[in-house]
């Protein structure tokens, strides 16, 4: 363990992996909190899947694998998918789950087709693009981490600045609109921040599982607190811990994709939270109920008498 700690600080690869996965965990956890509270967890899933064709197209158009280029492609196609879902729900009689299902699968399918095409194109530079499916933290280099940090701070800064407005948007958007706040604009801003959270995690976690990094930390954090500020902080912390732990396991045990490893770590946190969190934990709930039943039984005869 001390060796690992030493390596994380001094080894170039491990340091980048640790920093990168901590970043994606924090940003995903914080923005995911809003996604979950607004019941948009699945929108995050569609968004992440819809990013795949954008990544491949960005590479095909530029021939570059620079993270800013691929992230931009991911963001544009993710946004496009999200917009389409919103339009479908507004303008047709299709329900939201149908819209989500259609857009998610169409975009992801298109992404896989493009990816396969590129892989058979004799372009040597394409190697590694397929890691965007399940993520590979070992491929993180300093340039990636710097881009992630820059984008992530924009998203976190927006949340810090507009905490009150985002809370209003998440709890009671109609009341917010009646106060004169431009709820539609705030919605675009918050959704854009969620897009940022998704794209900075794609290289490490992959498009298939990225949504879990939005939903799971927030779901775990909700168990421990009844305050939004605390929930945001906890969710970021859970996301970062799972991110770092999963990435480290994946990198030290070679050839294990990082995304699934990180997801297993965050799932462990979720399970513990659902079982043991005070108040909302189901274990305490069961114990409370049992005690009450016993108390009721003990009192029973008295009441009857």
């Amino acid at each position: 363990m001390p060796d690992l700690l030493h390596d994380v600080i001094f080894d170039y690869t491990l340091r980048n992996v640790a920093l990168g996965s901590a970043l994606l965990g924090i940003v995903g956890g914080v923005l995911g909190t809003f996604a979950v509270l607004r019941r948009q967890g699945l929108l995050g899933d569609a968004l992440a899947h819809a990013a795949l064709p954008g990544i491949v197209l960005a590479f095909m158009l530029t021939g570059s694998k620079a993270s800013i280029v691929l992230m931009l492609g991911a963001a544009i196609s993710g946004w496009l998918g999200t917009l389409l879902i919103i339009r479908i729900v507004q303008d047709t009689r299709l329900s939201e789950d149908a819209a989500l299902g259609v857009i998610l699968t169409v975009f992801f399918g298109l992404g896989v087709v493009l990816l396969t095409h590129v892989q058979h194109s004799n372009n040597a530079n394409q190697a590694g693009l397929d890691q965007y499916l399940f993520g590979q933290a070992a491929t993180l280099v300093e340039e990636n981490v710097i881009t992630m940090a820059a984008l992530g701070s924009v998203a976190l800064f927006l949340v810090a600045l507009l905490f009150k407005e985002f809370k209003l948007l998440s709890f009671d958007p109609e009341f917010g609109a009646s106060l004169g706040y431009p709820m539609r604009g705030l919605n675009v801003l918050l959704t854009s921040s969620i897009v940022i959270a998704v794209v900075i995690g794609l290289q490490t976690v992959g498009v298939v599982l990225m949504a879990a990094m939005l939903i799971a930390p927030a779901a775990a954090a909700r168990q421990w607190t009844n305050r939004l500020g605390v929930m945001l902080a906890l969710s970021g912390l859970f996301g970062a811990s799972a991110g770092v732990a999963g990435a480290m396991i994946s990198v030290t045990a070679r050839r294990v994709p990082t995304g699934p490893m990180i997801i297993l770590c965050i799932t462990a946190i979720v399970v513990v939270s659902i079982l043991f969190a005070p108040e909302r934990g189901i274990v305490w709930d069961a114990i409370r109920r049992r005690r009450m039943r016993r108390a009721a039984l003990a009192r029973g005869p008295e009441v009857a008498a």
Partner: protein, 264 residues
């Protein structure tokens, strides 16, 4: 903020308002003027467009045509004078926050962008919770409140807005007797201070007791005016149509018998 209480213009005036969803009219050619300092009930069957009327006045749903003025000026200029109590069911009460925090949201309009509520806002919010008899629940997580208590938190939030005109969407729906009493006391207190209250109401039995002015709505305005002259069997029949049989019993059975007679 300067609030002139001696407005010559009506607190709310609606002209030619039409709202349509996918071609079908939800509200048709609404003309309404509400008098100042009165409790106004908006009454009508399900699907009559009662909530939509409030939301259209507040610019929350797009209207096909029509103009709204609040004290003689367009609504966007007069926001500070308007308070809103949405339907309780319109929000997720498992949201991670407490009663005091929700009430403070009523002050977000005055606070403006980015500024966070501080000591002053907490004090105002506490005061408003006290007025609705909820001071002891200030730090309670909102999902742990009963339906009636949640409704009172929403009312306290509107009180924090310190408005001249209040729009309330079914504040008495599904609340216990204690809450109903607490709410009506607060509304009467507001009226005594010259505030105008526009309330979507569903309980015909209490219309006479609670309200001064009545709007009978069923996509169009069927009748509007003082409760004494407007709350008649004929008008109700015109508003509710075939579903009137049951209502007729209610009306004639209780203290409203005189109204029914007058309607004949």
């Amino acid at each position: 903020m300067t609030i002139a209480t001696s407005h010559k213009d009506a607190p709310v005036a609606v002209r030619d308002l039409t709202v349509a969803y996918r071609e079908a009219p939800v509200l048709w050619d609404i003309d309404l003027t509400f008098p100042e300092g009165q409790m106004v009930a908006i009454v009508g069957p399900n699907g009559a467009g009662k909530s939509t009327l409030i939301k259209a006045i507040l610019n929350l749903v797009p209207s096909t045509s029509g103009t709204i003025s609040i004290f003689g000026k367009p609504y966007p200029q007069q926001r500070q004078l308007v308070g809103y109590v949405p339907q309780r069911g319109s929000v997720d009460w498992d949201f991670p926050t407490n009663a005091l925090d929700v009430v403070q949201m009523g002050l977000y309009g005055q606070l403006g962008w980015i500024r966070r509520p501080g000591k002053r806002e907490r004090a105002i919010a506490m005061e408003c919770l006290e007025k609705v008899g909820m001071a002891d629940f200030a730090h309670r997580q909102i999902s742990q409140l009963s339906g009636g208590q949640q409704q009172r938190v929403f009312l306290a939030r509107a009180l924090a807005q310190d408005a001249q005109v209040y729009f309330m969407d079914e504040p008495f729906a599904g609340v216990d007797a204690t809450t109903e009493r607490a709410i009506i006391d607060v509304l009467r207190e507001l009226r005594s201070r010259g505030r105008t209250l526009v309330v979507v109401h569903h309980d015909l039995e209490t219309v006479r007791e609670y309200f001064d002015w009545l709007v009978l709505l069923n996509i169009r305005v069927i009748a509007t005016g003082p409760v004494e002259t407007t709350f008649t069997l004929d008008n109700l029949q015109a508003t509710y149509g075939g579903r009137m049989a049951l209502l007729g019993d209610t009306l004639t059975a209780d203290r409203s018998a005189a109204v029914a007679a007058a309607g004949d």
